[in-house]
Symmetry: C2
């Protein structure tokens, strides 16, 4: 993770500088059961390939991961297949590393309190990544299911509490839920707080209310954020 | 191949009936060397997945295939990866099977002369597939490189000749070239001739001249054909 954060910072710079061809991901919706099959291709000066991500919320009931990812790389010189990789762990780490790169640049240098809304794999990887860019004295966790929050907090050395309590006075907040309706209210936010909003990946989902969104917003891709 | 032709006929019916979700393939162009990375996802009542096809004309000089394909399937119920397959042979067979299904329905029932423009893998698979739906007495072959045409003709029991000679009086014609400019002239065509035009896969490529295109045209996907 310590190597991945600067690599992701470089990737974001390359993308914003126009050195990467990365069409906005396309998604096939599978009904029933309400699953998503997402395709994320990219061409960089060093590589060419695609990540396929599936997201099935209904998998939670089956006891299998809701997100699964597979990465396929080819040689940009010849199109010859180079690698097919399980991309699930890479996705968990990459997403958190991007948040850490952003947090490093945008959050208060003396941030002390981290609040995580969510208790899934992204919550876990975000704690690991963000601890590398700030010295947090306190980590707070909320999850819709209180037992999940308690279990997760115990594992990572955090405190479980209500969303409002977790967010108030926090310097850095992560929203990493599958919520379709806001879980974070702008009225809770401390002045200067930095939020990494990870979860709402569909145009009709949201984690932040209007007041929270009325603050300064940074996005990785303007084109993707507007879709 | 004998099983694949009716399967492809069913797939075309399902697609035209709206039972298949198949976004028009998207393509990343890789410059240099002028390669293409194409993505072809589909969701049917029975399956969900994507075929990745790379096309690098420059591979011919390297002695490796110009087209390579990989197929990735997931379980439509859960998004769990099911299979990753080399799709190169499947692509060769499937394309020819679709032409055979079309030829079976559209060509003269007593077609006797088959002309193939091109001498690559699609030329080969088309001869195998089309022989299953019509009893050809003569197979004619043209290729831009005469030695390729001769070698191929000897292999498949065909006669090599000029494109015009091959096409005149032919009942069924296949264009399976990588040409960017027309190789088939409408003025050569016998009345009632059926053409399978396979090769021109980019919007600015073409194998048929205007006069040939002025005949009745059938396409697998109107949306894709107009792009």
């Amino acid at each position: 993770m310590a190597d991945l954060i600067p690599a992701m910072e470089k990737a974001l710079i390359d993308f914003s500088a126009g050195n990467v061809m990365q069409p906005v991901r396309s998604v096939i919706t599978v009904n029933p059961p309400g699953g998503f099959f997402g395709m994320m291709p990219a061409l960089t000066p060093n590589g060419l390939g695609i990540k396929i991500v599936t997201f099935y919320a209904t998998n939670a009931k089956r006891g299998i991961p809701t997100h699964m990812a597979t990465i396929f790389l080819v040689d940009p010189e010849t199109g010859t297949p180079l690698a097919i990789m399980n991309g699930t762990l890479i996705t968990e780490m990459r997403t958190a590393a991007v948040s850490a790169a952003a947090t490093n640049l945008l959050a208060s240098p003396d941030a002390k309190i981290l609040a995580i809304l969510g208790s899934g794999v992204q919550a876990r990887s975000h704690i690991a990544a963000l601890r590398l860019v700030r010295n947090f004295e306190e980590v707070r966790v909320w999850s819709r299911t209180p037992e999940h929050a308690e279990r997760f907090a115990t594992e990572v050395g955090a405190k479980a509490m209500s969303a409002e309590k977790a967010v108030r006075d926090a310097d850095v907040v992560v929203t990493a839920t599958n919520s379709k309706t806001p879980v974070l209210k702008g009225s809770w936010l401390k002045r200067g707080c930095h939020i990494n909003a990870i979860g709402a990946c569909r145009p009709d989902w949201r984690e932040l209310d209007d007041k929270a969104m009325a603050n300064v917003v940074f996005v990785d891709s303007r084109e993707a954020a507007l879709k």
